[in-house]
Symmetry: C2
Subunit: 256 residues, 2 copies
Amino acid sequence: MMLGSVVRRDPAMTVQQAKICKGCWQQMHMPVPLRGVLSLPFRAVGIRPSRMNPNTCTICESMFTTVMRARKVTIDATVMFADLRGYTTLSQALSADAISGLLDVFYDQCAGAIWEQDGLLNKTIGDAVMAVFNFPIKVPDHARRAVAAAREIQRHWSDGSSARATEFGVSEAALGIGIGIHSGELSFGEFGHTHRDLTAIGTVVNTASRAQTAAAAGQILMTQAVFERAGSDVASSGPKPYQLKGFDAPIELYSA
Amino acid sequence: MMLGSVVRRDPAMTVQQAKICKGCWQQMHMPVPLRGVLSLPFRAVGIRPSRMNPNTCTICESMFTTVMRARKVTIDATVMFADLRGYTTLSQALSADAISGLLDVFYDQCAGAIWEQDGLLNKTIGDAVMAVFNFPIKVPDHARRAVAAAREIQRHWSDGSSARATEFGVSEAALGIGIGIHSGELSFGEFGHTHRDLTAIGTVVNTASRAQTAAAAGQILMTQAVFERAGSDVASSGPKPYQLKGFDAPIELYSA
């Protein structure tokens, strides 16, 4: 499905809506209706589209251990972090309403692009978004999809940046997005026995997060693993070494 | 309630368990049973103790807009960030199982200390935990409570650090916790129209987060706002100026 180029679209309206939960179908071959009359008995017992991806359900989100028969699994996946540059500075100058309006648009645009590629919008934290590709919806080309989502986020944000700069009374450069992507084996599951948080952990996650902090506004930085897997879709300027916090040796990153 | 000094306790067992949801009672004067026979009809429709605080319920967590009749509210609150130092470095050296075991203990100990003070464990992200005090459970002494929770986290972690260092084959110093705390007015509510995430935003949140990044292992750094409100409970070494990322002027922080 192609996306229109409206500045503020509603991602829930543009993302292709699955009739049954793609996660439950792929993981358990169980059809869980997400929409329409058949979904009503499920909704009555609290099973509904997940906030992390509307084509998966709350079973995928909160019953991981029951479904997978393990608290965590090791999977090959791609992790993407996107972060709003200048947010800390802006949040001191703008009103709470303006800041929350800005975050609404940022989260919604990220959600639309991530869901379009069957990714999981795992977390938002302040001005950052963390997405995982290849779970619970399996997509063999997860690296390529993460890059496609990142490009869509940058393209959309750039389309609206002039209007946004006027709206918030700042320069366009003050409001860019930095993105970092890494692929590889990670732990996915429920962490903490009491708070129980469904997320991914491991060095792949940290590397993606650190790559994001190194990215300039408007930039996508990916590791060699992502670059090699994403294939011919990715036109990139050759790798440069980056000294990332917590890493002994510099890491080669490709800019897309 | 006093806590025992076991190295790995189960926070759900030690935190005083409320019979009705404290959030729904304070915000709406509505008794929502959390435990026992009376809670069964509620559980059947998906209303159960929240993962963010077991003395509040999933109504507080996912029906904010309905309950508060607004997508967000401006409240006076305290925000605490706690972060595992050395995690990025360690995650390259340890197995996924070891790392997830470490995070389980870290999350669980943070959860216990935060819930003990009626705080909300709003998020975990990688090696960091974000807590909010004064919503949905109102506590006028939220600054003092956040400091108490921070101290409990540091005390507990320090108690177990020798055993943990042996278990993970690292030095005790490699595994400390840094904590940052700030109080003031912030926006609390649901952000993003599609992903819909219940959280706090604003400069108070950013300042707490930045203070945490400045804290050394074993240290608690609080702003003047927290220090003045927390009162005589807080013995602190006098303020020092810190140049935090994204802030023009240095910020005075007190070490507890």
